[in-house]
Symmetry: C2
Subunit: 197 residues, 2 copies
């Protein structure tokens, strides 16, 4: 017998990925018991973010302004353009690599089943950006899945039409990966594209 | 390079227990990508709950009204009173047992170090409830820790002064527990309080 408002809070917390009934309950009680200010702050930021964060008009990355932080920065190399499937991929590349060029976010991949074609992925905006003539290299960083590969193929075609070099992230055995546990497809690919020392 | 509002959302999500930087990021991106409505609803409920949920005036359980759901229910047995340390313990007992009596929530346990005495735990309100004369049995369900035991001892004293039977949850080997892995203290206690078949 919980208060209806408390029940509702526990229910609504479950929109968060990875949060089931038990952890939602723990979250609700912990916030009420120890950190109501933090809870109120989260409520405010959440409302502001859900309503205010849209897509950058240049690269489709998340942004609450017309231009995202990358596009409005003066310290980025405009000759390189890295195309990713989602903003979380962009964030992973920013954190892991020293890349300082521009990005373009597809928000998905080509998928006939889900009805996502070039238009849904903003390919027209991408081509318009390339028409500007600044970009020299397109780094295609879509996922290494069947649909990601198809999307990469399509992007390579766009690059070719604009006379731009296209490159793709290297595939192979992950660092620290033991051959025994690497899946067959990756192993075959890594074997085939072995590099001379 | 994330948008400042997105950074703030990821930061603020970390007030939730068990949420580190990685899962906060995943939560923020997932809400933005797939469930903005759910995010907005969560923001609203969170704000309402943090500001609106207080303590029941009779038993100190969480409630957005003067009386909690248990205290205002007509289907509970007013002769039994179960005293717990926290609302989450109350919730666990409600879910696991068929108990249909009243509760009293201490919101803590006696602790000299943390400066929590009888006044902080609402013992005056508890005694006032007992003065009503309806309660016949006090079930003491504080945790089986040193401080929980001290609190149970104190509560038993109150019960005695009011001429009420006091009982304590049984201690012993958990169901499904293998003796090999049960801690020494529990095993010694279970051995000492063995029950005849």
């Amino acid at each position: 017998m919980k208060s209806p408002l408390l029940e509702r809070l526990i229910d609504d917390l479950r929109v968060l990925p990875g949060v089931g009934p038990k952890s939602a309950q723990r979250m609700a009680f912990q916030l009420l018991e120890r950190n109501r200010d933090g809870g109120l702050r989260l409520a405010e930021t959440l409302a502001e973010a859900m309503a205010g964060i849209g897509h950058c008009r240049r690269c489709r990355n998340y942004s609450e302004h017309e231009r995202c932080a990358v596009c409005s920065s003066s310290g980025r190399d405009r000759q390189q353009l890295c195309v990713v499937e989602s903003p979380i991929d962009l964030s992973a590349i920013e954190q892991a690599t020293g890349y300082r060029g521009d990005y373009f976010v597809l928000h998905g991949r080509l998928s006939a089943i889900d009805g996502r074609g070039p238009r849904e992925l903003g390919m027209e905006l991408l081509e318009a950006n390339l028409d500007g003539g600044q970009v020299r290299e397109m780094i295609i960083a879509t996922n290494a899945t069947v649909e990601g590969e198809a999307t990469a193929h399509y992007l390579a075609g766009i690059a070719r039409r604009h006379g731009i070099n296209a490159s793709r992230l290297a595939h192979g055995v992950p660092l620290g990966g033991e051959l025994e546990f690497v899946d067959r497809g990756t192993l075959a690919l890594a074997f085939g594209s072995r590099q001379s020392l």
